[in-house]
């Protein structure tokens, strides 16, 4: 590999008070690849994503994202990450356009880029209505806009297809799908869909890695173990 890996985890651990959320997680994600994180509810998927997003600090182990060790160099890498979380992270009283313009200013993106992403997801006509009045699918589309606004090199996607009907799903595909051509980490409640997109799979069970490797070798039995 010429390029350094996009993500390197070695022995990552994180506690919340006395509860261990992640323990001894290691993985290596080459640039441009897609990592699927699978596991039951509470296995630590969202925690892992938030650590990669620099929103949480790792307690043990090493985390290197886009060549920068966290948390020491979190500042350097923040602008190159895009997070699509459970919450859309949009202000309900502002319109979609105003929300995106706010984020654009924070991230140093241009107003033209705002219009570009709005058009890409088909929201340009309803971008001036308060977010409060939009359906969940539309809000999710706006959230996708927010995540890719600043053209990040690493996408962190927590249930990206939630609330999206097939048509909308198609619209966002070029922005956050494989076609986007950037390194991605995604979690999903639908393991089959995630497996279809993944180059590497990380299975978590109670915070501990239960499986790390290519999707092809993850058979039905192991899958049941993860979600059982």
């Amino acid at each position: 590999m010429d390029q350094p890996p996009a993500i390197e985890l070695r022995g990552l651990a994180r506690q919340f008070g006395e509860r261990t959320a992640l323990r001894n997680v290691s993985a290596r994600v080459p640039a441009g690849a897609t990592l699927a994180v699978l596991g039951h509810n509470g296995a630590g998927k969202s925690t892992l994503l938030r650590i990669l997003a620099t929103l949480l600090r790792p307690h043990e182990g090493e985390v290197v994202v886009l060549g920068e060790p966290l948390p020491r160099r979190a500042f350097a890498v923040r602008g190159q990450l895009g997070l699509l979380a459970h919450e859309p992270l949009l202000y309900r009283d502002l319109s979609g356009r105003e929300n995106l313009q706010y984020h654009a200013r924070l991230h140093g993106a241009t107003p033209e880029r705002v219009e570009e992403v709005l058009a890409a997801v088909g929201m340009e006509r309803r971008a001036d209505e308060p977010v409060r009045q939009l359906s969940r699918g539309m809000v999710q589309r706006l959230a996708v806009c927010r995540a890719v606004l600043h053209e990040p090199k690493l996408l962190l996607l927590d249930e990206p297809r939630a609330n999206l009907d097939p048509a909308a799903s198609e619209l966002v595909e070029p922005l956050i799908g494989r076609a986007a051509g950037v390194t991605r980490v995604l979690t999903s409640h639908d393991p089959q869909a995630a497996l279809a997109e993944a180059d590497i799979v990380l299975g978590l069970r109670n915070g501990r890695p239960a499986y790390v490797g290519a999707p092809g070798q993850l058979d039905a039995g192991k899958l049941a173990e993860l979600y059982g």
């Binding site: 919340f16 008070g17 006395e18 509860r19």
Partner: protein, 246 residues
């Protein structure tokens, strides 16, 4: 996060003995040596407890603030534990100071509370402020966040203490001929000696109690950690919500 163990129990016995000795000496002096005040009579002697309690309490609050700075700068939770213990000890001493101050006020001026004693008023405000420390901790569930925010509060509140005294002092229009101007030292020799011994005694008491509580908490924390390592995470039930650092 792994935290190396430390012992607070060192020197505790010697310290306890010194404390008991000094306080006993102070009591003897108070009752038998210090002269009886002409105006206020016997009850004036409560001054020998009230003022040291107040002084040690204020120093304790500032001490707690300084320890909290240590926590914020190093992220080591032990500093937070020290800060917590310092503050809640100081609060107990502070309430004691307020009660004894009230008794003294009643004896000297006939009222359970007087507004024209700026030191007492400032002190009330400081105690009210620090009384919110524990409810604040209790209201934050995540232990790390709890420790960090409590430390921020302790630092700000610690800085608040001197400012508060200045402001209240300036606001009072009465200047009572008070014995509280200790720095000026208008205390006759025998009173001064008694007062100093008393002050030393109460300071020792504070330090001893602080070390006692730190040892107890530290030991408990280590036991829990050992159990968790030996028996696994599930064997040790969580604390549930608690104001104290674990």
């Amino acid at each position: 996060m792994p935290v190396p163990p430390s012992t607070y129990g060192r020197g505790l016995r010697g310290l306890s003995l010194a404390t008991i000795a000094t306080i006993s000496l102070a009591l003897v002096l108070v009752f038998f040596y210090a002269p009886l005040d002409a105006d206020q009579g016997f009850i004036q002697k409560i001054f020998y407890i009230h003022v040291p309690l107040a002084i040690v309490s204020l120093c304790g609050f500032i001490f707690g603030g300084l320890l909290a700075i240590g926590h914020l700068r190093t992220g080591d939770r032990r500093w937070d534990m020290r800060s917590y213990v310092a503050i809640h000890m100081a609060l107990i001493f502070g309430v004691g100071a307020l009660i004894t101050g009230s008794i003294w006020a009643k004896a000297s001026w006939g009222h359970w509370w007087v507004w024209n004693e700026p030191t007492l008023v400032s002190f009330l405000i400081v105690v009210l402020l620090f009384a919110t420390y524990q409810p604040l901790r209790f209201a934050i569930e995540d232990p790390m966040l709890q420790a960090r925010y409590a430390s921020v509060f302790a630092v700000v509140a610690g800085a608040f203490v001197p400012l508060n005294f200045i402001a209240v002092r300036l606001a009072q229009q009465y200047v009572h001929p008070r014995v509280l101007t200790l720095a000026g030292g208008n205390l006759p020799g025998s009173m001064r000696l008694t007062f100093l011994i008393s002050l030393v005694g109460i300071t020792l008491l504070y330090v001893t109690l602080w070390k006692y509580e730190m040892s107890a908490k530290n030991a408990r924390m280590q036991v829990r950690r050992l159990r968790r390592t030996l028996l696994g995470d599930d064997a040790v039930p969580g604390y549930g919500r608690s104001a104290a650092p674990s």
